[in-house]
């Protein structure tokens, strides 16, 4: 369930980031054009809810990882894998902290003075979420929890 919610979150934040950074006024007939033409603001509440749910489920399975998968990887001296999870743990915590600011800069009506900050906060959230997803996916392939 943690993984499935992460995929939904990844889709939502990626759509928002693409629509914000590479906007298209007209919905082109191709796949990329339609992604660029979505209304970025409409994803905000879904992203906040999905992030909180994904984070909460991640916190629930974290102890199982700590005494299972991590010990397994430590015994095999897989330092990079263990370290990747350490980085992921902190990046998703940054994203959790950033969430109130993310919500603040997406309040309606959008404040044009904060357009650049809004774009960069979305970019950061996207980077944190992608990093968390990729690390989690690879580690789950090494040793699932």
């Amino acid at each position: 369930m943690h993984g499935l919610l992460a995929i939904l979150l990844l889709g939502a934040i990626t759509h928002q980031a693409v629509a914000l950074w590479l906007p298209s006024r007209s919905a082109d007939s191709n796949f990329i054009g339609r992604i660029r033409a979505v209304k970025a603001a409409s994803y905000t509440n879904a992203i906040i809810i999905l992030f909180l749910l994904t984070f909460a489920l991640g916190a629930v399975v974290y102890p199982t990882y700590r005494i299972g998968a991590r010990v397994f990887m430590e015994n095999l001296r897989m330092g990079a894998a263990v370290g990747s999870f350490e980085v992921k743990e902190h990046l998703v915590s940054f994203a959790l902290g950033l969430l109130p600011a993310y919500w603040f800069f997406w309040r309606q009506p959008l404040d044009p003075r904060h357009a650049l900050t809004r774009k960069l906060v979305v970019l950061l959230m996207t980077a944190f979420i992608w990093a968390g997803f990729l690390v989690g996916h690879v580690l789950n392939n090494i040793r699932g929890v």
Partner: protein
Amino acid sequence: MNLSRACPAFSIAFMIVYLSSMFLHPSLTLFTYAPRSGDWHMGIPDLGRGGPGMYWFSWLTTAFMAGAGAGIFTLFVPQSIDKRLWSGWVWVVPVLLTLFLLYLERTWFGIK
């Protein structure tokens, strides 16, 4: 009173104090979770064979309290001052913290 003004300050304080808690461990670690037994302990007990202990929940709690404190403080700052502050700190701070985090964690990847 516009409570949403507190959000950027919450975010910045949360992220700074989170990384500080991790970096200064055990100085800012309030409690420990023992995943084998499922018990919570104040401070950092010697868990012995019942270890390892998890501190992440404590770091999050400390960061949340700091964020809430910063947010409440912001509500007492006059809006005229508040509006003059550069909103870019909200992205500059996490970028700098991420670079510092990668520096701290480099040893896992064989970088000295």
